[in-house]
């Protein structure tokens, strides 16, 4: 590109200036007009209805630091500081409910605001403007990229953390009676959790020598075909170990869903609520629960 521009008479003196020099010029321009550009940017953010979760002052404060970091990244050409800043920013604003498109939106807005100011400044020297933009655009793109990636990474980290939290919360396998286990499932079941539940349950059956297992899904809000199939698999695997499964707590909604999507629940033993499930399990195990006053009378039969 350089040799070509050098041959153009009008731009000869510009061609001597290296990209770095142009960037320096650019940065000093951005520093000089910091207040004005920053305000312009904040105004555009409000106009575009971005970052509505934050107050005007907060937006302005964040805009200031983003601006400074932005200019610094342009100046130094290194993105580590910006990356760290983007991560910190994401950490602050994700809990406020700021969305990915908003973050990308504001960075693109800043890019736009700065480009416009460059247009205004160099409008009389088209060749120089071209070269300034040549220097500016790649750096600006990388910055936008860095911030967006930082935000998404932070988001993903939060998601991973929450998944881990759910996993740790996971479900206990409880023995309520000799050979009778209860598995209360609370919350959404994803394939990974379903797998973990099944493995835990199968181990529990083996160690407790369980004969009947009551799986209570009162706390499961939704059930789709996947989860239902996992449930069927769990029941099947349990049977291979010689135990019987009773499912309790199917809500009307889930019952409707299951029938609508046509999951084969024929092999499943379902009882309305946990109490009924335990009673049924006791019956299968040959227990009979009787009030203590009637003990002697019933023992005779």
């Amino acid at each position: 590109m350089d040799p070509e521009t050098r041959t153009l008479p009008g731009t000869a003196h510009h061609a001597m200036q290296s990209t770095a020099e142009l960037l320096r010029q650019l940065v000093s321009h951005l520093r000089q007009n910091r207040t004005q550009l920053r305000e312009e940017w904040a105004r555009r953010i409000t106009e575009a209805r971005l970052l509505t979760a934050m107050t005007k002052e907060e937006v302005f404060a964040e805009a200031t630091s983003v601006y400074d970091n932005y200019v610094e990244a342009l100046e130094t050409g290194t993105f580590e500081a910006l990356q760290a800043y983007a991560r910190g920013l994401s950490e602050r604003i994700i809990p406020r409910g700021v969305e990915t498109d908003e973050v990308i939106g504001i960075v693109l807005l800043l890019r736009d605001v700065l480009a416009r100011s460059l247009f205004a400044k160099y409008q009389n020297d088209f060749a120089l403007l071209n070269r300034i933009l040549d220097a500016y655009e790649p750096a600006a793109n990388r910055i936008a990229n860095t911030v967006a990636v930082g935000f998404v990474q932070e988001r993903e980290r939060v998601i991973r953390e929450q998944q881990e939290a759910i996993r740790v919360l996971s479900t206990p396998v409880l023995q309520v009676r000799e050979r009778l286990l209860i598995l209360p499932i609370i919350g959404v079941i994803d394939p990974q959790r379903a797998r973990q539940l099944t493995e835990q349950l199968l181990r529990g059956i083996r160690t407790n020598r369980a004969k009947v297992v009551v799986i209570d899904i009162t706390g499961v809000p939704v059930m789709d075909a996947n989860v239902a199939n996992h449930l069927v698999q769990t029941v099947e695997a349990t049977r291979l170990l010689g135990a019987t499964v009773i499912i309790t707590g199917l809500s009307p909604e889930i019952a409707q869903t299951l029938v609508t999507i046509g999951v084969d629940l024929g092999k499943m033993n379902t009882v309305g609520d946990l109490q009924g499930g335990i009673e049924e399990a006791e019956r299968l195990l040959g227990y009979r629960v009787i009030p203590s006053g009637e003990t002697t009378e019933h023992l005779r039969t």
């Binding site: 181990r203 020598r209 695997a237 349990t238 291979l240 170990l241 010689g242």
Partner: protein, 128 residues
């Protein structure tokens, strides 16, 4: 490796000790189906505790054994399927449909006592 078949009262117990080839499985099937008549057994227990993998052929053969022995007038129960094996089987869609299963040998005998019973009248008595 040949699977030893032990006679215990009215029951036959086949205890698989190590991984079996397809031929061994077929041999096990043939000798169980043959012996259940010769020994006049009422029940058969196949113990698979030592197996840490069950492929489709093993699953099918075990199901065949159960059905064949049922036709010969006895009841079969598979005991000792490991949790991991059960999970893998279900994931692979290998179902032992119509095949009774029990946790271990003791449970298997308890199951046979109930369903294949030493005597038919026991079953009726329980039904009441």
């Amino acid at each position: 490796m040949e699977v030893p078949i032990l006679k215990q009262g009215h029951y036959l117990i086949a205890s698989i000790q190590s991984a079996l080839s397809d031929n061994d499985l077929v041999q096990l099937r043939d000798s169980l189906v043959e012996q259940v008549g010769r020994q006049r057994s009422r029940g058969v227990i196949v113990d698979v505790t030592a197996l840490d993998v069950m492929d489709s052929f093993a699953t099918r053969t075990i199901r065949d054994i159960t059905y064949m022995i049922r036709l010969r007038g006895a009841e079969t129960v598979i005991v000792g399927i490991q949790p991991d094996v059960a999970f893998t089987m279900v994931q692979l869609g290998l179902k032992l449909e119509g095949v009774p299963t029990a946790l271990d040998l003791e449970e298997g005998i308890a199951f046979l006592n109930k369903s294949a019973g030493p005597a038919g009248k026991d079953k009726n008595a329980r039904g009441k």
